[in-house]
């Protein structure tokens, strides 16, 4: 033998296999970093999402434009209108429109609510003991309309009970409210764990499946498969860069949310990272499964988008309340990994709970991960045709 190697033959093989494996991983990293537009997606998207969800989006309804039509113009109506104008929920835009003008304003989308005081409102109130205010809501957006009418009714009720009470007396029942976990009622507390799940899902499922299918579509998969590297390691080497990038994304999101959005991290960081890795592995398994089941990038994308991303947005519970859904959809939500991850992140970051509180969710994720990995490796074919 020419080579007087100090390594036994078997070990040497293992070492060459490892170097091959690492050079494949390096190749994948090159692919990712050379493509600046894909990098925009990988790192621009999480940042944009944190900013949008943190600062721009909110379900709160305020500053709604309303019109008031006051036919009575007396002391009684004037006082109620003052109350309404003072509320932060409403901006009183124009007043005294005719019914026809009101309809036109609704159709133009200028106003959300019209409030009408009938003639003799104050007189009726004083002499007959009761008077009505008519409120018309734009129920093409039923939720906003409903909420605004609730607010308005509340303001009128308040106004009345203030009048009713003899001055100086306190209301009979006080409610002392404590807002737990999020005393300022910020939207970001709810959104950040959801964005985390969404971004990790996106990077892992979409990017992994597309990058593997791409090799199939371009024909380079053939070249890779005839290389001496074990095909299973080949697929793993495809997934490793996205695993690493996901961890970077996790760090970016956590840093942004704690510096920009003042999000707390009450629980253990180690636990959060560990369980996030579990979630990332689950997503990678989904990505591998998709790439094994399709031959074109367009299909892989559409399946990832429609089959994984939209369900993630819908069924995780951070954008839409799960408890309002019909039972069939709630049942479906149980098979979405991000639902469980969302609960885990909320529990660790915001509630500061330990592993004992979330072992069930973690176990579910773990089982999902194992099952998905098993299926996708079983379906993996060494030959393309």
């Amino acid at each position: 033998m020419m080579s007087s190697s100090i390594w036994p033959e078997e070990q040497k093989e293992a070492i060459t296999e490892m170097t091959q494996f690492f050079s494949f991983i390096r190749k994948e990293f090159y692919h990712v970093f050379r493509d600046s537009k894909t990098l925009l997606m990988l790192f621009g998207l999480p940042i944009a999402q944190i900013l949008l969800f943190g600062f721009a989006l909110s379900n709160e309804i305020k500053d709604s434009r309303i019109v008031i039509s006051d036919l009575s113009r007396d002391e009684g109506s004037r006082k109620v209108i003052e109350k309404l104008s003072a509320s932060e929920h409403f901006i009183v835009t124009r007043s005294d429109l005719s019914p026809r003008e009101i309809e036109a304003a609704f159709k133009k989308g200028d106003i959300k609510l019209a409030v009408l005081f009938p003639a003799r409102f104050g007189e009726d109130l004083q002499h007959l003991g009761s008077a009505s205010i008519q409120v018309i809501g734009d129920a093409s957006d039923p939720n906003t309309s409903n909420t605004l009418i609730t607010y308005l009714t509340g303001i009128v009720q308040d106004f009345q009970s203030q009048n009713r009470r003899s001055p100086g007396s306190a209301p009979l029942i006080n409610v002392e409210t404590r807002m737990l976990y999020n005393p300022e009622l910020k939207g970001s507390t709810n959104y950040v764990p959801g964005v985390l799940a969404l971004v990790l899902m996106l990077v892992c499922v979409l990017m992994t499946s597309v990058s593997i299918v791409r090799e199939k579509e371009m024909g380079t998969m053939e070249v890779l498969l005839v290389s001496p590297l074990n095909p299973v390691l080949l697929v793993i080497s495809k997934a490793v860069p996205y695993f690493a990038l996901s961890l970077v994304n996790l760090a970016v999101i956590l840093i942004l949310s704690s510096t920009l959005l003042d999000m707390p991290l009450h629980g253990s960081l180690v636990l959060l990272v560990a369980l996030s890795s579990l979630f990332i592995l689950t997503c990678l398994a989904v990505g591998l499964l998709i790439s094994n089941s399709t031959g074109s990038q367009q299909m892989a994308m559409l399946i990832s988008l429609m089959g994984m991303l939209i369900p993630t947005m819908l069924f995780t519970g951070f954008m839409f309340p799960l408890e309002n859904m019909p039972w069939a959809l709630r049942a479906i939500s149980n098979i979405i990994p991000s639902k469980w991850y969302y609960i885990i992140v909320k529990s660790i970051m915001i509630k500061g709970l330990g592993f004992s509180a979330i072992w069930k969710e973690s176990l579910i994720l773990f089982i999902m991960m194992l099952a998905l990995m098993a299926i996708s490796f079983k379906r993996f074919k060494v030959r393309l045709t």
């Binding site: 008077a131 509340g154 009713r164 009979l172 009622l185 507390t189 791409r214 309002n324 915001i350």
Partner: protein
């Protein structure tokens, strides 16, 4: 013209031969239209409440009956200790806990003001706020009823204001009526921008674009040949969504002029296809095109008022929303379908969409090169 017809034939053949993609284009939107409106229900109801009742009197029972009877709350826990009830909040089983102290009814009977304690899981701020507001108003109502009872027995009367509300354009307050048109807009957007961008880049990536580039096919022929099929598919998807799902399943009858509606869809699709074309001129691979499209779509859709109201955004993001073509289309489609708004109501929207159509398309055409 002949060239264009040949190109269109080629495109449609490619699309219809692709047995995998076709169901995705037509079936997925229908599934989405069926599921999304059911899922995207923001209404705050079914709030889970735990009540810790240390009093157990007629008054506290009256209060609990009122809370459960209001329809907003679901009683999930009753009469445990506060610590036990708090466990329910930690495990997300309860959204709020109301604690009624001992001697609650006794001190009310004596006319002493009483305090109730309310602990709210505020991770979802909106839900917490509205839940607490609903509950407070129920409690206030109980309080004023109790006062009223006393005053009635003492013989003094008070005036009252009734709020009579009516809901226009959607009297049954059906949330799907609001969501379905919005989701139709989302589907048209996705079909338009995505498929168009990906389709052109696919030719680039595979290399077949070179073959087209060396033929005498003119630049505008090629572009029209690529845009027209997706323009038609977009309109077909919209029609299926509006009539088969919107009317057939949800019973939504467009209130406005259907021609105006279709004119707007056609116009919007031109703008969107222009965006897809623009992205494809800047991308080399499908992965790039997808990444860039997804990046912009995500921002466009989130900032369009589809899921969250634009008025509640801070000013800077309202500006983003206002420079976003999707916003205008979603508004138009909701106004036309639900309120029957006519052309004069949406002049501004149409103007903006015309601007975007010209802007995206001319930028894309300027940037498109037959030679690489």
């Amino acid at each position: 013209m002949r060239t264009l017809i040949f190109l269109l034939k080629k495109e449609f053949r490619q699309i219809f031969r692709n047995k995998a993609l076709l169901p995705v284009i037509f079936v997925m939107p229908i599934i989405q239209l069926l599921i999304l409106p059911l899922a995207a229900d923001y209404e705050i109801k079914n709030i889970s409440i735990g009540i810790v009742d240390h009093d157990r009197s007629t008054v506290s029972r009256d209060l609990i009956n009122r809370i459960v009877g209001s329809g907003y709350f679901r009683l999930v826990d009753y009469n445990a200790s506060f610590d036990q009830a708090f466990k329910k909040i930690e495990s997300d089983k309860a959204d709020l806990i109301l604690e009624i102290p001992t001697r609650f009814s006794a001190s009310i009977g004596a006319g002493d003001p009483q305090k109730l304690f309310l602990a709210v899981n505020a991770i979802n701020g909106t839900k917490a706020n509205l839940g607490a507001a609903y509950l407070s108003s129920i409690i206030q109502q109980l309080g004023s009823d109790l006062i009223l009872e006393k005053q009635l027995s003492s013989g003094s009367a008070f005036s009252s204001i009734n709020v009579v509300s009516s809901n226009w354009f959607n009297p049954t307050m059906n949330y799907a009526f609001f969501m379905v048109p919005g989701i139709l807009a989302l589907l048209v957007t996705m079909v338009g921008a995505y498929l168009c961008a990906l389709n052109i880049v696919k030719e680039k990536e595979i290399g077949t674009i070179e073959q087209i580039n060396v033929t005498p096919i003119r630049k505008h022929h090629f572009i029209l040949g690529k845009l027209l099929p997706f323009w038609i598919i977009g309109i077909v998807v919209f029609t299926i969504g509006l009539f088969v799902v919107g009317y057939g399943v949800y019973g939504i009858v467009p209130q406005g002029n259907i021609l105006v509606l279709y004119a707007c869809v056609a116009l919007y699709l031109i703008a969107l296809l222009g965006l897809g074309l623009l992205i494809s001129t800047y991308s080399e691979t499908q992965q790039q095109a997808m990444s860039v499209t997804f990046f912009f779509m995500m921002i466009f859709l989130l900032m369009s008022g589809l899921f969250t109201p634009i008025e509640s955004m801070p000013e800077w993001s309202q500006w983003i929303a206002k420079s976003n073509p999707v916003t205008y289309f979603i508004e138009v489609i909701r106004m036309n379908v639900l309120k029957g708004s006519g052309f004069s109501d949406i002049k501004l929207h149409v103007g903006v969409m015309v601007f975007f159509a010209i802007f995206f398309n001319s930028w894309a055409i300027l940037n498109y090169r037959k030679t690489s």
